[in-house]
């Protein structure tokens, strides 16, 4: 793992957290979306916060697919878990949501558990891809 790759993981984590946060800000301004009119969800795409959230999630997505090209899925997901802590802090401080002690404990456990994984190898050798791999069939 190079410094550049750690930087990509950090960007991934921050963009995922803020993307969800901006979406929540946008959705808080919307009326309740009932299951009788599920297509109403498309109407929220004009909300500035939702647009900002989508843009941030596009940045997240770029980092995500780049990281998946050189690391296992079971490495990438936990490696970015610190985002849960950021999400809880943003929810409590900015959105004034009530984050209970048990939720904090849960977030801590999740972070500890998944952080565990980052101490192992990031990629399963011989799983495919890589510099010298032949161009594979990219279609299902």
């Amino acid at each position: 793992m190079t410094f550049k790759k750690y930087l990509v993981l950090a960007c991934l984590m921050v963009c995922a957290t803020f993307g969800d946060f901006f979406l929540k800000l946008g959705m808080n301004r919307q009326p309740h979306i009932g299951m009788d009119h599920p297509l109403a969800v498309f109407g929220v795409l004009t909300d500035p916060w939702v647009i900002l959230g989508v843009f941030t999630l596009i940045c997240f997505f770029s980092c995500y697919i780049a990281s998946l090209s050189w690391a296992d899925l079971t490495f990438i997901m936990p490696a970015t878990s610190f985002g849960y802590v950021l999400t809880a802090i943003l929810s409590a401080v900015v959105l004034h949501e009530h984050v209970t002690v048990s939720r904090w404990a849960g977030i801590a456990l999740i972070t500890a558990g998944v952080g565990f994984v980052t101490r192992g190898p990031s990629h399963t050798e011989g799983k495919g891809g890589g510099k010298h791999a032949p161009i594979p069939d990219l279609h299902p």
Binding site: S69, K127, L138
Partner: protein
């Protein structure tokens, strides 16, 4: 505000399943394509983008992720961010770990299984 209505659970289940399918298929697509840094050095940015956009697995993953995105919007409209995001992501983590072992053939060792167990307990605490 603490707000976890019962009606959120079916929405979360749909979100988790679509999200996991999207993650697993995207991992498959990117593994087949190879390290994007290397592909970019050898074929340029256009070559790398072309290789990603030319992958059928990539588009299958995108379709699933788009479905999960709109389900997430509905979930966020009904419950707290601090509940929706960690709970759904953590369940997705377990599903993804299983799919990674049995479908993607990743080496999921004791360290990664332990992490999955800790995440399960974390999820239980999170929903209390």
């Amino acid at each position: 505000m603490r707000n976890i209505p019962l009606s959120i659970w079916p929405i979360l289940v749909v979100f988790i399943v679509l999200s996991s399918i999207g993650d697993v298929l995207m991992s498959k697509a990117m593994t087949l394509i190879g390290d994007l840094g290397v592909v970019r050095r050898e074929h340029g940015i256009a070559g790398a983008v072309g290789r990603v956009l030319g992958s059928g697995w990539f588009w299958l993953a995108i379709s699933s992720m788009a479905g999960s995105f709109f389900t997430l919007l509905i979930a966020l409209n009904r419950a707290d961010l601090s509940f929706v995001v960690p709970a759904s992501s953590s369940f997705s983590f377990i599903l993804n770990t299983l799919a990674a072992k049995f479908y993607l053939r990743e080496r999921v060792d004791a360290r990664r299984w332990t992490a999955a167990g800790l995440v399960c307990v974390g999820v239980f605490l999170l929903t209390k």
